[in-house]
Symmetry: C3
Subunit: 671 residues, 3 copies
């Protein structure tokens, strides 16, 4: 993507070591030894790049970039807005966020700037343009890295200052036109919440409004919009003198910002991946979590993305931080590439000496230079990536299945009161996705705005909100032969959280009539038989009836709704629609989707059954050429049988009918 | 009580549907179908009734009332102070509460008004009088509903603004006269907390005073007093042009307001009942909780009350919200009537489309009109109530036993440090009351100001505070033949939380001398034998000695206080006094009170032993005529034997010697 | 120490009872009965001593002191700054602390004064000098008690007001000279945290800086320094007209203030001891905790200290508060003396009638006068102490072993992110100390500034920070024959939390090279064999390699670091250094230190093995004469064998070869 090779390297903070030239020299020597071909500079360097207001000191940075260039190392150059220098917060306190409780932050930490503040925008624009002018055409600079982990300010990611309140009101005025419209959309007559003046509107707050769900969702939309606008401003600034593409580093399942909106300001998606490996001995849940995140990133542009940060040893911020076991570093790095990454980048190259992240894992520790297990692990990745780079060029995963994962649905379903308050949308989506992962079948993660054409199977669990036009799109998808799956507590509200009256918007497609929804306690858990095996129905149990002609594949076995359908199948047009009335367990999802894969003809790249802990992912170019990654997430060897004849991509070694994988091994095959 | 029939209906919010005339028409049609004879209007309608300051729009309301009247449906009309319109909070920020931490609320939510604010009082008074003038003599309007769930503002129920601080100081000045008196009452020389100027006094606050328990209790008293004063102002306003009675809806075990004081501003008690049915399979604890609350409400005026809110399906605000199982809606509705309610009213008639309560259970769902299980359940209640109304008229429960449940005691015993910090007064009272409930013997819940004459048995568990005159009253009650029970940690302090010196105020009556009180950890739990069976003595173990002539019915078996009394019985005058030195379990309370019922001649209305899960309650008129409600809270049939010949009230069916109850069934008999 | 006898008595608050002369008379009568020879006056008496600004009322106090004197009772006289009168906070709000969140406290509670405020200092100085003038030479006044539990304000012990911010900046300027120095020390280029103006520096705050660990540590140092300065000011004031020594009462393991610094302002150490006896049946953990605290206090000046507060029955502030079982009051009182206390003092003489501490245990209850178990327990101590006083005079414990317990290390290791966030320094130190306690071998608790000469064994668990000069001191200690023990996560950072680069500062002494550190989850716990027995290695597992010549006494048995050393022994100079790579359990520490005691020749005073629950402690004078305290913390009799011939100190009774101890008994022997 960026010069046709797979990037290897990571965050590099030489400004912390400018008075130690021997450290800087060792850095470049060891980068070459580790196969590093790209580093990210300047992420938190504002205080050094602009030591006083309007005075830029770029010399040291240029020297670093040049020295890297001489060593053949490319540079991703960051804008410095992720952390503000003290002269800025001292002179312009308005740049600091105001919390939901009305208190303005003090200086410190990072990520806590007001994205609406005109002063903040002006100061950032100025240094971004200066960076663009000075470095935007340098040969070994390849990408702009805008700010850092936008919205990651340790709380709700939002600023509630007066600038933001005014901007919110303007945004609402543009959206709704009149207060009458807004009051209807937010169901304002409930609890006398009728607005009669735009000035009466205030962001949600613990000591103010928390009960108008339409306001909550619109506030979240506004925060995303405002942050996207800030990001777009930075993008225009860095591109003023430069034709380089721009990215910003996303985070895992980050609820505060709708990445589908924010990504429109970016040329390339990138993200920071920190799975909790070795939390328990079964690594599958974490592997599924990481694969899902990779796939979310890839799906946004249906294109390769960058793994911008990952840790080669252990992080420093969890309650406890185990070391990566032998093999895991290579496996987790390959996993990223398998799902669409064109890079393996680390936070960080070298551990700092002090402050909050001094023990965050890095390629280089405080001691022992290149003579560490971590450095050797990193170097192995550095050796392997070039062997794959050529065959990976131009490839990406091209799934025939998709899972709906929509930010606005996430906000709405978790913010609403209702049958239960502890709904976890991400966990629900992951339990459905895991059935795909275990079968080695890749899925895209799409939101409600996505086109459905081209998919054979679309699953939309806990799809509480239906935005305008969505139901029609699903109907036509099924009509034209698609297979659609959805669950309990779906199709409940429109985009402002107003309940649909009369009927479920997809009643015809699903072939069911909804009646009630039970949220039984543990002693009242229900159960059902599916294909002769018993599974639990728990926590959320919708009571529905099947329309004529609908196949009821399973029914409740207990309680007053014994006999009501749990799994239904409805032929609609050329397609099929499935409804799951209750939450169940992983065994059920495995069985249910296994059947669906057969019915829809979805297969994994090895066309064989995969043992527990093993998955596969395929990247191909437009001609169908590419790579298959076979990954073993068990810490013991395992054999995959029935694979047919396969050739290892890097070595040409031929596997006849079966592939043996070592503990935590990833084998890469030609397609 | 209100026209001689049992009310059936509930909260109705037509202002949310004024633009949907077909909805309003369907409402009245289905109300008639469901046997609804009464609805509550206007609870949160301020923004619609007074869309801008001083401009009232009552037309729509009159039309609704008239349409209801034509359909034979009565109206309870609410004042709108429960939720403030935005124009009010915008123009007069002082109407919003200030929290204990000193922060003024933002607009939003509900119930968060300052009850001291002159502006708030003026605005409420004005609209209340206008409502009184317009609707106070309408034929089908029967009752004023003042505000809503007073004090229910999601935190401490109190406002800490400067208006309130000044009112608090004035209230203290009136109460104590001099600072010398106040300093003595609050034991001000402890930690140098001597006040030398009234202005130095401030409400308790997390960043201020939390250690002067006398201040804490007086602050709570003041909050109740101030809220009662506000309520009284509203009552006078609605009665300006109207002779209708007034109520406000109380909540379950609501600690923030002393309902014994607040009820003096009301003509009729009503409350909102939300038990957590089906949390576990054993419904008895929840049935006891609901029965206790009903009885608290009835006991305040020793008169029938109204069940103002209840849910016909599931609420939306608990962590999980199970549906009511078949039979439970009828049973829980009859339970209210059995304990003294003259109504079964719901929150709410129809689910709103949006915001915080859109999934709160209602008679009508967003879909399916009258074709739902809930609607059929409601209609069955609607059919049954009229069958009972005539025989219930003029009746009320008339128990011969009482349990002390006193708000000031609650505040004091849970706010004090001492043997343990996790004392739960309500749980303690409930564990004693449950012994009555299981035996089918009704009890009143009285506070320390109540007359004791007429009761055979008074139980006062965890009666930490003795207000002036109380000990004397108990002494004379026992002297005159009453049976009195009390426990560990009773009679410790006077009304300002000053410890009694020298002796326990009822030492003579109880016949014990107090020594020490142990709060053993789990490994040190003690035990005792009572009537040959072993029971635990745990958490609170008073060490006392029995005076001469006292019967020691049980003694500790373990530890250094082995042999000290746990249960004592003392004949005093014509009566008996019992002391329970330690906390024990339900088995013990069942056995102990079972013996007391025998000794005092207390019997249930069926004069037979009731199986587990079954209870009975009796309402009679002054001539002893009335109804007996026999309720089965088990989800399976059960037989009650030894009942003698009984006649079913609604059908005249005769039971000979035994009554069989279905799962969750309530049978009503003639007395 | 103070007149050659052991003090017995405690906090006395007669100002609460001035209007009850009969109470005051009873007090003195019962004090004599209980063997009380000393009481503490005036701790919270400011409001009574200075009822309005500048007007002192000392008459009542003088009368009390005189009456006590006539009864032969000495007085410890407190300064009243522990709780402020309301006239002070009303007129000068600046005396009240500002919290980290920026909010100024309201009046109330106690301990919440700003120690920087010039007004506060002036007001305190004035009354202290007045007290000094009036009482500083009274015959029966023997000691100044400055303020109360300094820093114990229920939160972080610190004030964040503008006075404090300015003082902090001045303190930093004096410490670092230039911002360049400060920025380097705090690693300011991390996250752009470079200070360019002293005014930019602010104390750590939840809404501000929490990520600059160097700032955090310096802020804690400043708080200690400022509080010490305040304490020094009070000391000078009370000494203005008085030659009496001064103390203040310390608290158990009080993290907010570095007592090694604060104690420099004091002549005598004293502390308030509140172990949680009878929490579980095994009293050993609590006995170890108390012994450790006593030893911390004694070690600060290597001199006798005072037990200033302890409770003769039960406290009132824990979740539950068990009574002291028979024997425990004597045993815990003797324990204090055994570890170096020259007093047994109580909080409090008499329970107050009201407010927060009315149920806090006291010698006298609200009832029953001297006729209580507690009073008899206290009187027994009052009889015993004089029997020991003469032999105890001039004695103190003189251990040959020391455990490092350093406040700055505590702050740094618990504030840093790293392998795990739940490190508990105190628990770690206690688990090492417990091995000493179980063996009956006393240890000093020293900080990094202490001299090591004279100790045979020094153990420094979790010694994360090495201040300048410390490594050199340890090296020379071992070189000269000392035995040194340290653990995983030691020697990581310097005094401003900057990581050491290159090597562990004691790599040569320990003979190990550090590689990585694992923080395994529970499923990944490791294990090792030591002397043929298996022990767990969990939570923190350092991976190191042993240098040539080092003895590896145990190695990991599991995981990828199987075979790496867990316990190493290195001969260095004339001494030995031990490294423990992993956290283990008490069984291991018992075995490991047991071996070390043999190797180093450390023995308990009885020169025999002690049964579980029994320990011994020895106090001797410079000639080696003194007392041995043998204490049984089991609630059952136990026999200690192999003791040789011993004489009981108080009775002259001779034990031949064995000593039998009753439940919770302490036997005192001559040395």
């Amino acid at each position: 993507m960026l010069g046709g090779h797979l990037l290897h390297g990571g965050d590099y903070n030489p400004e912390q070591w400018l008075d130690c030239p021997e450290v800087l020299e060792e850095d470049i020597r060891l980068m070459k030894e580790a196969g590093v071909n790209c580093v990210t500079l300047g992420v938190f360097s504002w205080a050094v790049l602009e030591p006083e207001e309007g005075v830029y000191d770029f010399e040291w940075l240029e020297e670093i970039i040049d020295n890297l260039g001489k060593a053949g190392i490319q540079v991703i150059l960051a804008t410095p807005s992720g952390a503000m220098p003290h002269w800025l917060t001292q002179k312009y306190p308005e740049v600091m966020q105001v919390r939901a409780d009305g208190q303005r932050n003090l200086p410190g930490k990072r990520h806590n700037f007001c994205y609406t503040s005109p002063v903040m925008r002006e100061k950032v624009r100025a240094i971004d343009e200066a960076l663009s002018k000075r470095f935007g055409r340098k040969e070994n600079v390849i990408l702009w890295h805008i700010s850092n982990e936008l919205g990651g300010n340790f709380s709700d990611g939002a600023c509630h200052c007066e600038h933001c309140q005014e901007a919110f009101r303007r945004w609402l005025q543009e959206k709704y036109g009149t207060l009458e419209e807004l009051n209807h959309a937010w169901w304002g007559r409930f609890w006398s919440h009728v607005y009669t003046d735009w000035e009466q509107i205030h962001s949600p707050a613990p000591h103010g409004e928390t009960t108008v769900t339409g306001l909550e969702i619109d506030w979240r939309r506004f925060v995303t919009e405002q942050m996207s606008d800030f990001c777009g401003m930075e993008r225009r600034a860095v591109k003023k003198y430069s034709g380089l593409p721009a990215t910003t580093n996303f985070m895992s399942f980050f609820k505060n910002l709708d990445y589908h909106r924010l990504q429109k300001e970016l040329d390339i998606i990138s993200w920071d991946s920190y799975p909790f490996w070795h939390r328990i001995k079964d690594e599958v849940p974490e592997a599924v979590w990481a694969a899902a995140n990779h796939s979310v990133m890839r799906s946004m542009k249906r294109a390769p993305f960058l793994l911008m940060e990952s840790v080669p040893s252990a992080v420093n911020w969890r309650e406890y931080n185990p070391l990566k076991r032998p093999g895991m570093h290579m496996l987790s790095s390959m996993q990223a590439v398998a799902h669409g990454s064109d890079s393996v980048l680390y936070f960080q190259w070298r551990k700092g000496r002090g402050a909050y992240e001094k023990f965050h894992g890095a390629v280089l520790d405080h001691r022992n230079g290149g003579n560490t297990r971590t450095f050797r692990d990193v170097s192995e990745v550095g050796e392997r990536l070039p062997l794959l780079a050529k065959k990976a060029a131009g490839t990406v995963n091209r799934p025939k299945a998709a899972i709906l994962f929509d930010w606005e649905n996430w906000w709405a379903v978790e913010d609403t009161t209702g049958p239960r308050l502890d709904l976890d949308y991400v966990q629900c989506v992951l339990s459905h996705y895991r059935a795909f992962w275990e079968a080695g079948i890749e899925a895209d993660f799409i939101n409600m705005d996505a086109e459905l054409d081209g998919y054979k199977l679309v699953s939309a669990p806990l799809n509480y909100m239906y935005r305008a036009g969505y139901a029609e799109k699903v109907r036509s998808f099924v009509e034209n032969g698609g297979t659609f799956v959805t669950t309990y507590f779906s199709g409940e509200v429109n985009e402002t959280d107003l309940c649909f009256l009369g009927r479920h918007p997809l009643e015809d497609v699903l072939g069911i009539g909804t009646e009630e929804i039970d949220a039984p306690g543990e002693e009242f858990a229900n159960r059902f038989l599916y294909c002769g095996k018993e599974y639990p129905a728990a926590r959320m149990c919708a009571i529905v009836h099947a329309k004529e002609g609908v196949s009821v594949l399973a029914s409740y076995e207990e309680d007053f709704y014994r006999g009501c359908p749990v799994v239904t199948e409805n032929a609609y047009g050329k397609g099929q629609a499935y409804f799951l009335a209750a939450e169940s367990d992983q065994d059920f999802y495995r069985a249910f989707y296994g059947d669906l894969f057969q019915k829809t003809g979805l297969e994994n790249p090895l066309r064989t059954e995969l043992p527990y802990g093993v998955t596969a992912a395929e990247r191909t170019d437009e001609d169908g050429k590419g790579l298959v990654f076979v990954m073993n997430f068990r810490n013991e060897p395992v054999k995959v049988e029935g694979t047919g004849r396969r050739t290892e991509a890097e070595t040409g070694k031929v596997f006849e009918g079966e592939i043996e994988l070592g503990a935590f091994e990833c084998v890469v095959l030609d397609v």
